[in-house]
Amino acid sequence: MNEIVLETKALTKYYGGTLAVDHMDLEIPRGCICGFVGRNGAGKTTAIKLMLGLLNPTAGSSRLLGCDSSALTPAIRQRIGYVTEGHRLFRWMSIGGLEKFQRSFFPKQWDDKFFADMIEYFELPKKKKIKHLSNGQRAQVSLALALAPNPELLIMDDPTLGLDAAIRRQFLEGMIELITRQGRTVLFSSHILGDVERVSDRIVVIDKGVIRANCSLEQFQKAIKKAILSFADSVPDNIHIDGLLHCKRSEKQLELTLVGIDDEKITEGAKSAGAEECNIVKMNLEDQFIEFTAPANHRRLFQWEER
């Protein structure tokens, strides 16, 4: 069952003269957890709001569950859960009041027990008003409100921003719990790469409004590598290898970041450049992301000088 539940075609959004989202093409199949990764201001929230019909695209289109985003029908919205940026809820309402409010919109889908279990687990008093809750507690309420209707498609906009590790873990548990049910799909934006690595099937990397990567997590992790080339004599100024992303020179070594190239081709290229040794090093997802989205001639913030 590879039905596409979320797709965008050349989705573009200009804010005045600023390009926030640039011709985004996305296809998310049913049943997958997709991690939307990008630096702050990369366009993640804008993209999500476009998908949910809260913003109007300058060009291109977006469809959720087969329905155009600018015309999402109430019936379709009922199948989509949304955790908003910042977990902003009605400040004057109590948790119990919000439960009643939210529940009214999902008469057949609402899982009373699930909501009650979550609120109990989070140790949240039902009578407390939202304005008296901490950021973390508000996030927990937000999560419970989004999961209790058992949505087919759950979209979460940076749900763990500024939250502690325990709450981040609770959100991941919630996602996994949802995904183990038949036919559910999750899209969440995050910049905690560790979380993305734990739960995502797919990763979409956004940088300055452009999708730079859109593949399975495994492919991404396999594709980006670091190779340390050691030289006996002088280190060459230029090196030509396919897929070279960055090159960092030090006295006796070249540190290369490469994308999408086999290990053999790397060693070949290293040999032809005159390298004595070529070590291909595993990178963790966070380092891969940083290297992948760094500008072409980036350097470290602090350069350590040999004295």
Binding site: I33, R169, L172, E173, I176, E177, I179, T180, L193, G194, D195, E197, R198, V199, S200, D201, E218, Q221, K282, M283, N284, L285, E286
Partner: protein, 137 residues
């Protein structure tokens, strides 16, 4: 059945490999005996807070290595060691790795006897339950 798996995201090792390796170790140590049932994919995913597909991939990696077999409808079980295929290719890889170890050891200045003692002490850590299984045969 106490199966303790630790996930380290950010270690550079894909998570499914970590899961597979740790289950593999548990089998080698005898913590998981042949015929034991591995946790259901969804259950393990829920406990470890990782994607069920990752668990599925780990199980399928183990199945390819011949360590487990999946019976549709029932689950995934640790395979009978007698029925595990020992591929010539697997033995070759094992031999290569041993050569690497021996080379390292000798380069460090260890003598052959030291290497053997070291090997035996490490094997003992995996040992007790394996030995029992050996005796039962």
């Amino acid at each position: 059945m106490p199966l303790w798996i630790q996930i380290l995201p950010g270690s550079g090792e894909p998570i499914y490999v970590q899961v597979a390796e740790q289950i593999s170790k548990a089998i080698a140590r005898g913590e998981l005996a042949s015929g034991d049932k591995l946790p259901a994919v969804r259950k393990l995913a829920s406990e470890l807070v990782i994607n069920p597909n990752t668990v599925a991939r780990a199980y399928s990696r183990l199945e390819q290595a011949g360590l487990v077999t999946t019976k549709t409808g029932s689950g995934t079980f640790v395979s009978d060691p007698k029925l595990r295929r020992t591929d010539a290719a697997d033995i070759n890889i094992l031999t290569e790795r041993m050569d690497t170890l021996i080379t390292r050891g000798l380069n460090l200045g260890l003598k052959a006897q030291d290497l053997i003692s070291l090997f035996e002490s490490r094997l003992a850590k995996f040992g007790n339950k394996s030995k029992k299984r050996e005796e039962e045969k």
